[in-house]
Structure formats: C-alpha cells, structure tokens
Symmetry: C3
Subunit: 289 residues, 3 copies
Amino acid sequence: MSTSLAAVIHRLGAEARQSCKGDKNSMKLLKVTLVSLVLGVPAFAQGNTNMSTPLESASALSTADIQSVSPALGRYAQEDVADSLWQRPQLSRRDRSIVTVAILIARNQTLDLSHYMNIALDSGVKPRELSEIITHLAFYAGWSNAMSAVSVAKDVFAQRRIGPDQLPAASPQLLPLNEQAEAKRVTSVQRLLGTASPGLDQYTTDPLFKDVWLRPDLSPRDRSLVTITSLMANGQVAQLSGHLNRALDNGLTQEQAGEVITQIAFYAGWPNAFSAGPVAAEVFRSRPN
Amino acid sequence: MSTSLAAVIHRLGAEARQSCKGDKNSMKLLKVTLVSLVLGVPAFAQGNTNMSTPLESASALSTADIQSVSPALGRYAQEDVADSLWQRPQLSRRDRSIVTVAILIARNQTLDLSHYMNIALDSGVKPRELSEIITHLAFYAGWSNAMSAVSVAKDVFAQRRIGPDQLPAASPQLLPLNEQAEAKRVTSVQRLLGTASPGLDQYTTDPLFKDVWLRPDLSPRDRSLVTITSLMANGQVAQLSGHLNRALDNGLTQEQAGEVITQIAFYAGWPNAFSAGPVAAEVFRSRPN
Amino acid sequence: MSTSLAAVIHRLGAEARQSCKGDKNSMKLLKVTLVSLVLGVPAFAQGNTNMSTPLESASALSTADIQSVSPALGRYAQEDVADSLWQRPQLSRRDRSIVTVAILIARNQTLDLSHYMNIALDSGVKPRELSEIITHLAFYAGWSNAMSAVSVAKDVFAQRRIGPDQLPAASPQLLPLNEQAEAKRVTSVQRLLGTASPGLDQYTTDPLFKDVWLRPDLSPRDRSLVTITSLMANGQVAQLSGHLNRALDNGLTQEQAGEVITQIAFYAGWPNAFSAGPVAAEVFRSRPN
C-alpha cells in the first residue's frame, strides 16, 4: 500500500470521525466502508498482512486524555510508536500486532488489550489464530492471564460477529510430532527436574508438547513467536535460550527475533528488552548463519 | 469421600442448577443443603479437607464464555484442570486451594480470586486462615497485592456472613520463637546486606520474623506453603532455596512441594514452574531423606 | 515542621472528618484550608518537602474494610507503615511518595494509585514532576503501565484543577548531554547486544537517552530515583547495578538508596527488597565513600 493511499485512508478516517458522533466501532465501520469503496476491494483482505497504514492510536485512551497528563507521551505515541516503531520493515504489521497482544496478555494488562486485538484482526491475524494465541498463553503465561484475555476477546468477537464457525475445534487433527526434537526435550527436562515434580513432567508432555504445540490453527513459527514474546515480556530469561533456538528452527528469522526485542522495549519496558538482548546475541552467535 | 458419593453431589448440583434460576450463591447454598440432607452431616465439616468432589469450574467465567473464544481452553479446563490436576492425591484439595489463592494474590489477579476463595472456604480452609494468608502475603507479595485481596475478600466474607468473631485477633498470643533458627537467619541477612539497608534489617526482624511468622492462626507449615508459592508464582528463585528448606523443616513433604510446582505450572505459567523445578531438585538432593 | 504542629494538623483533620459528611476530597480541602489559616501560609509551599504529618491512611481502602478481613493488617498499616516507615528521616516524605507512586506504576497496581498520587502532590511533588514520572516509566516499565497511570492521573489532575499550564511542554529545551557518560553507555550497550537488535540500539539512544533523560522538568537525580525504584519493584536486578551507580552519580545518597529498599519491602514485597539489597551492598562497597 503506497504512502499516498495511506494518507487518503487517514483523511477519510478523520472525516468519518468529524461527521459521525456515534461510537468508535461505528466510526471504524464507516471508515472501512469508505476505504473499500475507494479501493474497490475488501479493505482488509486476507493476504494483506504487511500494511503500512499508520497506527491510528497507540492506546485505547484518547490523545486528549494522554495529553491532559503528559504532552510528552502524546508526542512519543505519535513520533516514536505510531509513525516509527510500527512502520519498521523488520517485522510485518501482522507479526507486530501478535507480539503486542502477546505482551499484554502475558503481563495481564487489559486496558489496551481490546484495542490491540482489533488492530491484530485488522492486520491479517485470523480469529482462529487469536483464539490459539490465548490458548497457548494459558500455558506459558498462566491460566488467569488467559481468562482475562477471554473476557476481553469475547466482546471483541461478539462486536465483529465472529462465531463458532471461525474458531478452532476443541480437538482437531494434530500436526505430526517431531519425535527427535521431542526425545531431546524429554532428556533436557529430565536433567533439569529429576524426580522433583512428576506432575510437571507429565503435563509438560501431555497436554503441552503432545497436544497444544501440535494444534494446527497456529503455525509452529507463530507459536514460537508468542512463546519467546511471553518469556521476554516477563523477564523470564532462564527459558529464553531454548525457546529462541526452537523459534529459529521453526522459521523465525534472526532479524525478526531482534525486532521482537525492540517491540518489547516499548510495550514491556526497556529493562526486559535489555535482559533479552544479550541472550539473543549469544543464541545468534552460536548458530550457523 | 467415595467416588460414587462425589457423583451424587455432582448430580444434585446439576439438578439445583437446572431448577433454580437464582444467582450463583443461592444455587450453591441449595446444593450444600441438599448434600447435607443426603449425608445427614454438615457438608463441609472441619476435618473434611481432602474431598474429591470434582472442581465445578476452573474460572469465574462461564464455560460458554470460555468456549466463545477458545473451545480448546474449555476442554483443557475440564479434562486437565478440573478432572485431572485437582484430583491428584499428592496435594489435598485444601492445600491446592491455598496454593491457588496465594498464586492469584501474589500475581495481583483479581478476576478469579473470589471464585477460588470460595473454593478454599468450601475445601476446609478456615476464614481465620484465609485472613492470615492475606496478611502474610502483604509482606511477601507487597502491600497493594494484599489491599486488592482485601477488596475481594471483604465481599466473600460478607456473603458468607463471616464476622469479626471468626477472624484472628490483631495482637494474639504469639507462638514461641525458635531462637536458633532466628540467630541463623540474622547472620544470613547480615552477610547478604551488610549495612546497605538498616531499615530492611529492622523490619525483617520486627514485624516480619518476630511477629507475622509467629501469629498462631496459620500454622508455620501453611505459612511456608504460602511463602514458597508466592516466590514461585513470581519467578523469585533467589529466595526460594532458603524458604523451601524452611518449608520442609516446617513439615511440608517433598512430594507436596513438588506438586506445588505442578499447580504453579497451570496457574502461574510453565516458565515459572520450570524456574522453580531445578531449585527444588537441588534442595531435595541436599537433604537427608 | 515541629511534631506539635503536626499534631494540630492531625486534630484539625480529624475534626473536619467528624463535622463534614461530604466526600473525601472536600474534607481534604477543608483540612488544607484550616491548616493554611493556622499557619498563615500556604500549607503546601514549595520548599516544604519533608513534612512529618502522619500518613492518614496506607490505602484507598478504609480502615473498616481492611479490618473486616484482617485486623492484623489494620494494625500493621498504622503501627508499621503510617507511624513508622513514613516517619523515617532517611528519605523525605516527598521522595518516599515518589518511590511509592513509581512502585505502583511499575507493577501496574491501580487500586491505591490515586491515593498515593494525592499524597505525592500533597507532599511537595509538583504536577509537572508527576507528569514526567509517568512519562519516564513509559520507557522503564512499559507503555501500558504508563497508560494505566494516565487513566488515573487525569482524574486526579481534573479534581485538583491542574491544567495544561502546569504540565511540561511536549518538546522543551533539553538539559545538556554529558557526552562522556553517553559514550560510555553506548560502548556498554554495544558489548551487551552486538548486532542482535538494531532497533533497541536506535531507540535507546533516541528518544531514551538523548531526549527523555534530558527533559528538564524532573531532575536527573529524581529520574534515577524513579528508575532504580522501577527496577527493584519488578525484581529486575540485571540492570540495577548500572542504574544505581548512575543514581549515586546524580546525587542520590547511599543512605537514601538503602531506604528506597526499605520502602520496596513494604510496597513491592520482601523478596524484591532482598533481591535488591545485595546488589546495593556490592555497589556501595565498590565506590569511594
């Protein structure tokens, strides 16, 4: 999408906002409709995952609210987050929105979660993928984090009329297990835990690695993206090296992984980015390029 | 309690749910009453701390809400959490509910807190114990985490008509101090901190170790259970080894401690369980069995 | 301010509370007015940053609410937090309130945030400083933590009629850059990250160190105070040593830094204080005194 087209969309959005005193969703609908008319195509077609449309807003809070407390934050939101970070080519807008949603769920931050779930769905993330991201994070970020995400997502899905037919099955046909990688994993867990927690052993094998990781509606590469994001977002560097290697094995590039750290800096704070950075540097050095 | 009896209770609960369109609490009351009639005894008698009644629900969210976002999570909630994890004999239902409530308070997650406080009180945790758990976590998880827990517990207590007579005194007769363990603790703190923070020195001695830990309405074993849970729930492994040794000295078994890690996996996420696991393995190895 | 004067203020406050059935803010206003009349001066004059007025309450929750769950917590709130911790001379009440607000923002705990923001503004923290604290923590604690803080602060500012004229400019004249310290920082980041995350490199230089840290409306010493508090509050010890050295270079004393750890114990939990303590002890030992 060209820059001038993005400008047209931006202007249409502004006009819609001016003329329409309805709620935010009806404005968004109007905007999307206008854009569709102009383009003569569905605005958010499936393959369109690398749009450079400016991020309209970095928060569910209005710019006026942000500026009533910190004019500086209003400026950073525009200059550094919306117009710079979200435009960087190292990570597609789709991937960036997955990372951002995963950060918020992993840190149990619901204020902006609906906002960024909508951005994700507008950026090519499919409802079934968002559903799987929440399921995956129930295991990596904790059951209650997933429940908070469910309580937000159910309203987002209802507003967008996303029904059961667009969700993954409870028990789909699973992807084949990589027996070799699984054997290596079991050995590594054995070495770490010994007999300290038989229950952890058991549930890590099933459901985590013989069920959750094999569910087909989120690719292994995207599962890895969500996993390393969750670890970085909470400063859990002890498991990062193993999962970062798995992510690179699953098809994430080093450039993308490095850019996840950049997104972490803004959305999970600089210290978490600086805890993740040296681990990534070491993993990158250790691999044939 | 036998499995068939659990089935009867479960069915009565289902019937109560069918016939009664009132709120959740009146349904629960009806269910408890029916159970009491069948058994001819108060349903939740004091000693009855190891019930194998199926966990009715793993969240305050309804199954329908969970499935409207993730049918898979609905399945895991039933198959892995309610019917499997909560039925494991390595940890009593009472202890498991203490661990779960402590996880939620330590991580400041209020969405399901009322739900699990009710499960705890239904599983043999006494109101004065729940009060002490919150008090204890004010020190181990932070003042504001305790305030959030208070804001939830006050409504739970009000609904269950738990008044001041069931709460611990502000200044009860304290348990005797183990002078030897305390001397060892002071030496260890001295070695860690030197003169860096005299205030931390002072308040760690009093009120923390000469007051909070000696309060009689929560046993030292349960205080240790809450403490190691809080540390694991937030990935604070630096203090875990010392407190895990104290927990085992206070009567927690290695099997129970290992099962706390299993509960951590589900309710605080796999990475926190895998950070705690190797510490526990090392502590277990270092002790005569 | 003498102890007897503090007692007068306290009594006036109590009388105001008795006589006035209005909301908490009108009581506070009445109290401030009475104090101003008695003193013949504006009660919260700029230089008056070390008041020993007793902390009225350690939480937005009422004492009655706290005691309906835990009479013990009600006692600790008074004896250890309000009458002891907040009266310690090692840290001024202004600094202590900055530390407390920073802890709550860094841990995304909003329940008591409005309460402590008001204490901060009553203790000599200027609105423009509070605005900058939130801006600073957007970078050190994460964007969404700052958004939560904004959503609370906007109401606090509105209630106190704090308008745009009292807020820092979005783009003020910046403080001069310490070129030598900056060169050292760049070298250190290079060593840690290599080429792992070019985006993190870029945004750490600008906006973080060439813009945020140079904004004039919060002193470098206070920025450092907020930074080390945020790191300690989340157990992020990996970056603590560097930032603690910077804080001491920026004018924070070792005694003040040690007392920040004491405040951390109460408001972010003992484990975080005990993770920070040894790092501080090591940093203090390594510096010429």
